[in-house]
Structure formats: C-alpha cells, structure tokens
Symmetry: none
Subunit: 417 residues, 2 copies
C-alpha cells in the first residue's frame, strides 16, 4: 500500500497565527483513494528546515505533498528547497511568466517585479497551473517518490490539487479500494445521533463510521475498505441505507452538500421562490442562500431590518406588536415572514428575530433566544429556539436552522402533492 | 534562546478528521514568552511513531509539548511512549486513581475498568491534574530538556497548560523577550506591499516581518526579539512607524481588527449611520457589518435586491437605467446607494451590483465585474472593479472592498472637518 506524508511550510503556521487546515484536507483526500497519510511535518520558512522535512517525509512515504512557501516574497522558499532536494537549478519558464503577467493585466494592474520569481521551477519538474492566484505548483518524480508543492492559500491549494494532482494519485493508488461516503445531518447533536445509530458506530468495524461537526451540521463518514472498489462501494451503500432508516429526516444530504444547496435545488425543481427578512442574523441567511450558483432562480430578495424602525417601515411590522410583545417575539417573526412574502410576491419567506448577544439578554429573553417563522400559502409556522453559544456561531446556526425548517416544510409539501 | 517543538498525536488528526488547533494555540502561548516553536510533528496513535517524534523533537528543541494519546482506550499510547523515551516503567499513582474514581462518582457513574490505565505515569515523571476530564498530563525532565504530555481535547489541554505548565515555561524562558505587533492592510496585494516596504522585509532582520493573507486582508507581523521586553517593544514600534509612513492609508488597523470593526467604531464615534443595498454579495456585506457587537448603533438596515424586480420595487432603481445600462452598471449601483440612503434616512449607504459567477459573464461584463457606490451627503462615489476568483472569495472580497471604500471616505471627512 502506498503511503503519503504532508509538509506544511510557513512561519504563520509554526507561530500559530494560522491554523493549518490544508494538511487535514489533503489527508482526507488521500485516504479516500486508499493512500493513508503517516506523518505531517510543519516547518518555518527556511531552505534548511524545508529540506530537512522533505528528507524525513520522503523516508516515511511514497508521496510527499508540501503546502506553502510558493508566494512572491523573500520568505517564500519552497521552490529553492525543492531545487536543492532534487539537486537541480531553478529555471525561468516563459509560459508561467506570461500567465502571471496575464493575471495582473486581467486586473488592470502592473505586475510587481517580485512576482517574477514565481515563474521559476526546478529543472526537470513540472509546473502546475494556478487558476486562482499567481503561485504555480511544482510536481516532480525522484526515484519512486512523487513530490508535489502546492500554494498555502487553501482555495488555491484545493483547486490545484483537484485539477492537477488528484488523478495522478489515483493512478498511483492502483487497485486498493477505500471508499468514503458522507451523510450530512442537521437537527440533532453528535451524541444523540450516535445513540440512534448504535452498534454501527463501533470502532474497528468495517465500514468505519467517523463523525465530524461544523456549524451544527453533523457529517457521518462511512469509510469502507475492500480489495476492490465495487465491494467497498456496496459495503458503504449498505451502511448508508441502514443509517438513513435509523436517522429519518435528520439526514439532509450527502458528500459536500450544504443545507442551502439542498434547499435551493428543491426550490428550483419545484419552481418555487423565496424571500428572507432578517434581524439578528444580519444578512447571514441571505448570504448562505445566495452563495449557491443559480440562486437568482429562486431567491428574489432579502431585508436586513436591524432596527425596529426598519421593521416597521420596510416590512409593515405593526408597531404595537413590537410594543406589546417586544421585537424578539413570535408575533414579530411571523409578521416579518408574512409581509416579506407578500411584498416580494414569493412562495415562501423566512422571518428571523432574536438576540445574538453578547449583550441585550434578560432573564426572560436570554442571549441566544430566536424566533424563526416560515411563511407559505398556509398559516406561517413559527418556532422558538435558544442557542447557547458565541455570537458568530449563533448567527450561522440560526441561519442553518431556518434553512432546515424550510427543507422539512418543502419535503412535506412534496409528500402531500 | 530556548526553543520548543510540538507533537500532535492521534489517528483522527493524521487522517484529517480533526483539524489540529492545539499546536497553533501552544505555539502562540510559547511565542508570547519568547520561546519560538521550530517544528510540529503530527503522528498516528502508535508507540513507535510517538517515540520517533519525541526523538526528533528533543533533537530540535529544549521544550517538547505533546498533545493527545492520554485517553483510556487501547489506541492511547502516549504514556507508554513517554515511558520508553524516559526509559522508565509506568507506575500506578494511587492519588491519581482516586481522582479518576472521584470524577466518575461526582457524575453518578461507575468508572469503566479501562480508565484505570490513566492513573499510570512513568516513574520519575510528574502527573499534571486535569480538572475537566479523566486524563492526567505528564511532565518530565530529561537531561536539559523539558517534556510535557497534555490531553488532546482542546478545552482540557488549555486548562492544564495554563494551570500547570505555563509558569514553568516562563521560568525557563528567563529574560528573553519576543514581541509581536500586527498591522492590518487592505487595498493592495502582498507583493505590492512587500515592494513598498523594501528592505524592512529582508529575511534574518530583527524585527522580522512576516506576511499573512486572508480575504484580501494582508497582515504584517512585526516580530521583535531582544534581551528585555521594553527594548523589543521599542524596536517593534519603531518599525510600525516606518511601515505606516510607507503604506499610508493601506493600513487600516492593528492586532485582530477587522475592516468591519474599524469602520463600525468610526461610525459609532462620529454618530453616523449606514444602510446597504446588495445584489451580487447577497447579504455578505450586511452580515460582515452586523457581525460586530453593537452594530445596531449605526447599522439601520439592508436590502438584498437580487432580482431586477426587487431593485425597482424596493429601491426605486429606474427601470430604464437597468434597460439602458444593464443591472451591473455604474448607474444602477449609484441608484441603489442613493435610494437606500434616502429610504433608510442614514448618513451613508453602500450599493453593490456585480457578477459573482460562475456563470453570467460576457466579454464586456466578465465574471467578477462589480460596481460599488458609496452615497453620502455629497455626490455618490462609484468605482468599478474586476475580481477574478471563485464565487465565495469574490463575494467576501467585494464586501471587504466596499467597507474599505467607506473607511477611506470616513477618514477623509475627519480630515476635512
């Protein structure tokens, strides 16, 4: 079985300014094609430190992936360290230089002289195209080892890895088969889901079930290992079926799907439209929805009515409802949703009002108290939640919870029609 | 100068299921007392792999901090690896056993037999109390090296580090002082800023200047090392002054400040208010602004007018302007900003319209084309940008750019008044 080692380069990583997410991403990708990662090395920007890590990593593994140190400034030294490790000179590649010049020209900018260094690649190595930035990657084979250098900026790194490296690694992995399927869940905590799943979660079992949690979304990783791919796929599918049965509508999707994507797809399929009226989430829900390409098909408009004045003037929330029940109340959430739906002329609208904190809470209305209302052509449905967490994650969780309410509502409609 | 190395132990880390935040936390803590971290090693749960990392780390540094592998299950092997490295047997510490038993008793739970192993510590080493869980830490001195093992759960690790390790390290660090100041910049790329700064960025210089980039924000880290703190502070301040002079209004703040925070603070100080009208950013700008506690003081409301219909009905954008110039045009951005300002009755308003992609671009109006208009009691100022990047980062960059335009506008007003 082929093995891999990952090197993260950068003073910002080793000094703790940046948390390294690249290594975890690459490790998951490698595992998905049956190449386990056996070591991570994190080193400062320095030719000697990078070179030493390259030697250690090449001793551990067949594949060495390096991220970082390909930028244009003097502290970017991965190119030079690769050159030393490969024992070859850096050479100017004119085509790369042209790409970098074009990158700046496309932005109506002059190319700073410093960026020229990014067009240099060790002789004999292959340059990897960067579609999102100026730093090309490097791929080289030395004896039976594959060495790859990728940019440190996560978006550039991922794009380049998926475009130019992953297929190469799949070839290398050969007939081993490790399949990973992901089930995305929303609406219950990790331990509740674990209890619902029971023995399926036992360690040492194959498929192995791992949990990860982010922004309220629980991802169940079903990792099946077999001598061939179709057996592994069957094993994973069998588990998926069992788990879906146990979890019901807690499962909203698979793979990398987000709630916004799943809800958007459903709205587009059903040719339905939506509007949102937000208070405490301050635009987070609209941003989640419109983050999906093609959202303009179903998302018509949003209001961020942060002040009571705006709630009254823009969404006709009755001033006496605010007076009587407070701006964080079922009545106000409902009026926001209903009136947003009417004004935008959409099939659905979501109204959110709450106390995101850190201040503004009282004993009766604590920080984290939120009302979410979903308006449709039936009576609006309004729910009360208390999210005990910090400001940023409250906002995201609230917006996700709103999407999840809409998801369940749309699923119901499909079922009835 | 004392140096440190950090080892993260765990299959969940090396397989990418968990992103390691412990190493970054410890590194920042160590740097704050003048002990730079020179290497991170991440290894799987295995006696040999941990032992090898201990040897490498002890070769690199005077202080070795290990996180993870202290749990009660069979795959927790840091205790055993420490024993091997120290060449001493694991011994039952009765007091530790009692603490673990008490931990369970306090929760009305039976102690699983597996937890007993956590009361074993290599002979000659010191146990560190865990107030949040069952895994004690280990501290040992071997020759002139200090070795510490901490739990992998971040909350337990931090609590134990702060309670039982930090003071010990401060003693060890002695009179060394490393000061880090951060300057936050927006409005130019990394290489442009590096060229503007010139020799200040040279490697090997003290203070050392490092760059990090996130969402268009360039952070300049000024790291000054001296024999005492006040000298280091003076050195960093001297550099900060020089750099501010060279970079002018590209510098928007210091430390962990965001653009939204700096702009918000200024608006609050000047008792000014703002509204936003967004198309392609879909709520991202409103979400950035309202992410700051206390934003309700100055943020009145936002519109996400994604459709042309909404632009016309909600913001009175003239239909013939959309017809004549297109919805992505200077005229529409300006109308959005002006009318948002009027409707919300605010001092400022920002209007944004553009093509976030991935589709919808043409040769004349490419993906990434954005108009941002800032309305005030003078004529609105509208700028054209082309952001060539992926959807998510375009939206964030556009929203940040809008905040930056407002920041510069407010600074001007202060200057004139």
């Amino acid at each position: 079985m082929k093995k891999a080692s990952i090197i993260s380069v950068g003073n910002e990583v080793i000094s703790g300014q940046t948390v390294d997410t690249n290594a975890a991403y690459l490790s998951r990708k490698l595992l998905s094609i049956g190449i386990p990662v056996v070591s991570f090395y994190t080193v400062a920007d320095g030719i000697d430190s990078i070179l030493r890590a390259l030697k250690l990593a090449a001793g551990d593994a067949d594949v060495v992936l390096v991220t970082g140190g390909l930028g244009p400034t003097d502290d970017d030294l991965t190119r030079q360290a690769f050159g030393k490790f490969l024992d070859s000179e850096l050479q100017l590649q004119k085509e790369l230089l042209k790409r970098i010049q074009d990158y700046f020209a496309g932005r109506d900018m002059w190319m700073p002289a410093k960026n020229e260094i990014q067009a240099y690649i060790p002789a004999g190595a292959k340059a990897l195209v960067n579609n999102l930035g100026t730093a090309p990657g490097i791929m080289a084979k030395v004896e039976d080892k594959l060495l790859v250098a990728l940019p440190g900026v996560p978006s550039e790194m991922k794009q380049m890895f998926e475009e130019s490296v992953f297929a190469e690694l799949q070839k290398l992995a050969g007939a081993q088969a490790v399949i990973e399927k992901k089930l995305k869940c929303f609406g219950a905590g990790e331990s509740t889901i674990a209890e619902m799943l029971g023995d399926i979660c036992l360690r040492g079992r194959n498929p192995l079930i791992n949990f990860t949690v982010e922004g309220g979304v629980i991802t169940l990783h079903i990792i099946a290992t077999a001598s061939d791919k179709s057996t592994a796929v069957q094993m994973a599918e069998k588990d998926e079926k069992k788990m879906r049965k146990l979890l019901g509508d807690l499962v909203y999707g698979t793979g990398e799907q987000t709630l916004a994507e799943v809800v958007g797809k459903k709205l587009a399929q059903q040719k339905k439209t939506i509007a949102v009226a937000e208070s405490c989430t301050g635009g987070t829900l609209a941003a989640l929805i419109t983050d999906i390409p093609g959202a303009s098909k179903y998302f018509i408009q949003g209001w961020v009515t942060y002040s009571n004045k705006a709630k009254i003037s823009e969404l006709d929330v009755p001033a006496d409802a605010i007076e009587k029940y407070g701006s964080v109340s079922e009545q106000v959430a409902e009026a926001m949703a209903e009136n947003a739906r009417k004004k935008a002329g959409t099939d659905f609208a979501i109204g959110i009002t709450g106390i995101a904190g850190p201040t503004g809470g009282t004993e009766q209305k604590p920080v984290g108290l939120v009302y979410i209302s979903v308006a449709s052509d039936n009576k609006p449905e309004t729910k009360r939640f208390v999210f005990p967490s910090n400001r940023v994650s409250v906002r995201l969780q609230v917006a996700q919870t709103a999407l999840n309410l809409l998801r369940i509502k749309i699923a119901d409609l499909t079922y009835c029609s």
